[in-house]
């Protein structure tokens, strides 16, 4: 049984973390960070850190907006960006019997190949601009982790908000998209940077 003041403290603790996540996006924290009610924990692929990702009860979230005709803040090139995300899922979700998170590492070469094949034509010079633009947008909003130097991509922590229905639809989508060529990764597995959430967002903002 917790005392009233402990309850107040815990409520403040939760509220502060939620506000942090809303103002900076999902946050990567030490695994020993105490749980925050409603923020789902997603262990990073190497298990060294944990992402805190906001999740909503069913009946809440963006799905409601469409019915209301009250759109969220517009995404630049929304369809292009959604397509590139779908391609990232295809490239990074190797074992589709399990969940999409954390997935594996994909490469820009794979993404370009799937992109052109999806278009049903040879690769065009403008494709790369569109693809890179989308990758950056998706990285900045934590849908993917895009390492521009290495040309490598992983899924981002926000993908854990896809529920079973979403994942089933995406499995289906992956089957319909052209298969990516095998990934050729850089030598050293890129260490996940961004230990500090504030620094992380600034880093993302500075690129």
């Amino acid at each position: 049984m917790s005392t009233p003041s402990e309850a107040v403290e815990r409520r403040l603790y939760n509220a502060l973390w939620w506000a942090k996540v809303q103002s900076a996006g999902p946050l990567e924290v030490e695994p020993d960070t105490p749980a925050v009610a409603g923020l789902t924990r997603a262990a990073t692929p190497d298990g060294a850190k944990v992402w805190l990702v906001p999740t909503m009860p069913s009946g809440a979230g963006h799905t409601v907006l469409e019915e209301l005709g009250a759109p969220p803040v517009a995404v630049e090139q929304p369809n292009e960006t959604a397509r590139v995300l779908a391609i990232c899922v295809t490239c990074c979700w190797a074992d589709r019997s399990g969940s999409a998170w954390p997935g594996t590492t994909g490469t820009l070469v794979q993404i370009r190949s799937v992109y052109a094949a999806m278009r049903g034509r040879a690769e065009q010079s403008s494709d790369l601009t569109l693809i890179i633009g989308s990758l950056r947008r998706l990285h900045a909003t934590h849908w993917i982790r895009w390492n521009e130097k290495a040309g490598e991509v992983r899924l981002g922590p926000r993908v854990i908000t896809w529920d079973a229905g979403d994942q089933a639809a995406l499995r289906d989508l992956c089957r319909h998209l052209p298969d990516p060529p095998p990934a050729v990764l850089a030598e050293a597995p890129a260490a996940e940077p961004e230990p500090d959430p504030v620094l992380a967002t600034e880093e993302a903002a500075d690129e």
Binding site: L12, A15, A19, Q22, S23, S58, V64, L65, R137, A205
Partner: protein, 227 residues
């Protein structure tokens, strides 16, 4: 996504299915719609009892309902939460992004106010800030362009409809999420920064001198160790 929600369930479990749906819809609209939503559109906002539930949900995540123009609602950071976080040095927006946003606010809001051509009492404005006006500062074209892109993505600025002289910007819908206290804070800090020696700045300091002592008495101080 989950059937159970550790944070909201204690609040939601006592509601009827219907009330729960309406509260969640209103909560989602206030939280995620780019613009404030009309009160008449949602039972969860219209009905005072349901709206109280929405407010309680928001409070759990450090937010609060913000009334806009007396007819619309949106959600913004609760004043005590914003204060506690920034007191810890929490500021995810980079210096350049903040500087560019402030420039847009000055050109689109502050200057039209000085010209006496802006009515109402919000940070909304249709007066575009041109790229030329943003060019007058010590931020490179590259930095500025990227900052504008990020600010747009966050709804802090938006493209103005007037592209006659190239792209131009106006404050974005997110500014409407500021609580009255946050709006005033922004106004005060803008005046204090631009004209620190003016009588107006002096009057603001005098007023805040008393306001601060009141705030300390009523606000909940954040505990250590949350960072």
């Amino acid at each position: 996504m989950s059937e159970q929600h550790a944070l909201f369930d204690p609040l939601l479990q006592d509601l009827s299915d219907r009330a729960r749906d309406e509260v969640l819809a209103a909560f989602s609209a206030a939280q995620y719609a780019a613009h404030p939503v009309a009160e008449v559109q949602l039972a969860g906002l219209r009905d005072v009892t349901l709206r109280r539930q929405v407010q309680k949900m928001l409070k759990l995540i450090g937010r609060t309902l913000v009334h806009v123009d007396g007819t619309h609602w949106t959600a913004g950071y609760a004043d005590d939460i914003a204060e506690a976080l920034t007191a810890q040095g929490w500021q995810p927006l980079s210096v350049v992004d903040r500087a560019v946003l402030v420039l847009v606010l000055i050109h689109s809001v502050a200057i039209p106010r000085s010209e006496g051509i802006l009515t109402g009492d919000s940070w909304k404005s249709a007066r575009p800030t041109t790229v030329d006006e943003l060019r007058t500062t010590r931020i490179s074209g590259e930095e500025r362009r990227l900052a504008l892109q990020r600010l747009r993505a966050a709804g802090l600025i938006q493209l103005s409809g007037d592209h006659s002289g190239g792209p131009s910007y106006i404050p974005g819908p997110q500014l409407q999420r500021l609580t009255p206290a946050a709006r005033r804070r922004l106004q005060d800090q803008l005046i204090l920064a631009a004209a620190p020696a003016s009588p107006i700045a002096e009057a603001i300091r005098a007023r805040n001198g008393t306001a601060t002592t009141l705030d300390v008495a009523t606000s909940t101080e954040p505990e250590e160790g949350v960072a």
